[in-house]
């Protein structure tokens, strides 16, 4: 049985623009991606029913959550959500355990010790159960918040910039839990973020918003590998490729197999045979017309130029089809001219192994 998908159709006049959003979020993790002020929060609030300002229709499978034409608006507490907020929002007057148990308690559901223990174990929050939220670190709070949302037995999980308030170390502590959610839970997850790295690592589907409009929709590889799509500016641009761990070398490097091409990067936690996702930032890729020799960079991917997009400034973005997938390279217009690059040219993309930042290495891809 395929789990029901979330379908969203919303119209709302906001301060600077009109929100007009139509998309479907199938099972897996759908990232609602856009800069702050692009309308993401209005969308998620309408889906949750926390705001009634938007017109339109939101449905989960055949269950209608709202339909302004029918005057239908299911109250938030009847929508069976698991909402993970940026600021955790744990109840300060309850212990961690009572926070986790809150949804079951208010809905008068029977106690389910097995489900409770499973979530507590998965998130590693067993030692925190008797503490008060005020005594938790930011990362601990967010793990408890994830647990609390999961124990609500949601039919839809919403996450609003759940990592934005955390430092980088805490971010990489929490990210794997969202990967597990994506891979192990069969309810749709709608995940709001403005961080391209989270998109690359987590998204099954990407819905990119700009000024209230959906400007791109597709899989993470499709959307991030599209050189005309650079919501965070060209600097934030980077393609996503999938690879399999081949072996761990003694010198601390891990060798991956990306569509038959070997890739070396600093040791990753996955075991040989595991699949993972890599994000290769466009500005960490150099192009060469001949196979480079005598270079310190370890990763060389031969490919064919699919597209060259000249930017407004001195820069250009070249998209390259390689056996590993679509790779983007950001270079100057001058280089494009002097190397006589054009569509169909065969070139070599050089990626320094250290350029694949650990924060951008994702867990097993779907």
């Amino acid at each position: 049985m395929t789990p029901p998908a979330l379908s969203v159709h919303l119209r709302q006049a906001l301060a600077n623009f009109t929100l007009a959003v139509d998309f479907n979020a199938p099972a897996g993790l759908t990232v609602l991606f856009g800069a702050s002020g692009s309308g993401k929060t209005s969308v998620i609030d309408a889906v949750a029913g926390l705001s009634r300002a938007a017109m339109g229709r939101v449905a989960l499978g055949d269950q209608v959550l709202m339909d302004s034409k029918l005057g239908l608006h299911l109250p938030t507490h009847q929508r069976q959500l698991g909402y993970i907020f940026q600021d955790a929002r744990l109840f300060p007057h309850m212990s961690v355990e009572r926070n986790l148990d809150y949804a079951r308690w208010v809905t008068r559901a029977p106690k389910d010790r097995v489900a409770f223990d499973r979530v507590v174990d998965m998130l590693g929050i067993g030692p925190l159960l008797l503490r008060r939220p005020n005594r938790l670190s930011g990362g601990e709070k967010q793990r408890v918040a994830i647990g609390r949302a999961l124990l609500a037995r949601p039919k839809l999980i919403l996450a609003d910039e759940p990592l934005a308030a955390l430092d980088d170390a805490r971010k990489s502590e929490i990210l794997p839990y969202f990967e597990r959610l994506r891979d192990e839970s069969d309810v749709p997850i709608l995940y709001v973020t403005h961080a391209a790295t989270e998109v690359a690592r987590l998204a099954t589907t990407v819905v990119a918003l700009d000024a209230g409009q959906v400007i791109r929709q597709g899989t993470a590889a499709e959307v991030l590998g599209d050189p005309s799509f650079a919501p965070g500016g060209d600097r934030a641009m980077g393609a996503v490729i999938e690879a399999r761990v081949r072996t761990h070398h003694d010198d601390g490097l891990t060798e991956l197999d990306a569509g038959g091409l070997p890739l070396l990067l600093p040791h990753v936690a996955q075991s040989p045979g595991d699949r993972l996702r890599l994000r290769i930032a466009a500005q960490d890729v150099i192009l060469s017309k001949t196979r480079p020799e005598g270079m310190s960079a370890l990763n060389i991917l031969p490919g064919t130029i699919a597209d060259i997009r000249m930017g407004d400034g001195p820069g250009a973005v070249v998209s390259l089809d390689t056996a590993a997938g679509r790779v983007l390279a950001r270079l100057t217009k001058r280089s494009v001219h002097s190397l006589e690059l054009r569509q169909g040219s065969d070139v070599f993309a050089v990626v320094k192994s250290v350029a694949v930042a650990p924060g951008d290495v994702g867990g097993p891809a779907r």
Binding site: L50, H77, G82, A103, R131
Partner: protein, 231 residues
Amino acid sequence: MTGWLGPEEWQAVALSLKVAIWATILSLPFAIFVSHALARWDFRGKQIANGVVHLPLILPPVVTGYLLLLIFGVTGPGGRLLDALGLGIAFQWTGAALAAAIMGFPLMVRAIRQSIEAVDQRLEDAAATLGASRLQIFATVTLPLALPGVLTGTILGFAKAMGEFGATITFVSNIPGQTQTLPSAIYSFLQVPGGETAAMRLVIISIIIAMAALILSEVFARRIKNRMEGA
């Protein structure tokens, strides 16, 4: 205690405590409801409702007492209704409790409303996403988090009820054993020659009760705060 206090004085203390406790207990649920409505709901006539609630704070107490007399006196519409129900309150301690409750009500509402407004609405939203209805959100999130303010309001209301004079004496008069509360008794003692010592004893008792109430609320407030910050 009774050795030190004359029977009339003791009566006044006991009556005042009874009046104040009943006034506080009976008005607290209404005060919480009204505070929540004023803090969180939007409805027509909200400003008027707010004004009516605060009226006893601004009106001269004698005016409030007289209005109570007009409504709940023996010939007033409310009085006749209560009489028919066997609950006559004119010139009885229950009338004193009503006067005390009405005079303390705005003080309670002010404190409780403020503490409800200070509760983070984002926590209430979070509770809604977890399946809590509006009533459940109020009972499990809003009210517990507003508890310090509810406590302050209760103490203020109680203190006001203990000290109420003008409305009480206007509405239910000053009958020893029936409606003579602490302040009325102090007033009466001061009217007779040589009553100063008895009045002074009651003044001291008033101060002790007020201090005890304040200290008690402080202790509870600290306990609530500690519980919130957790171990």
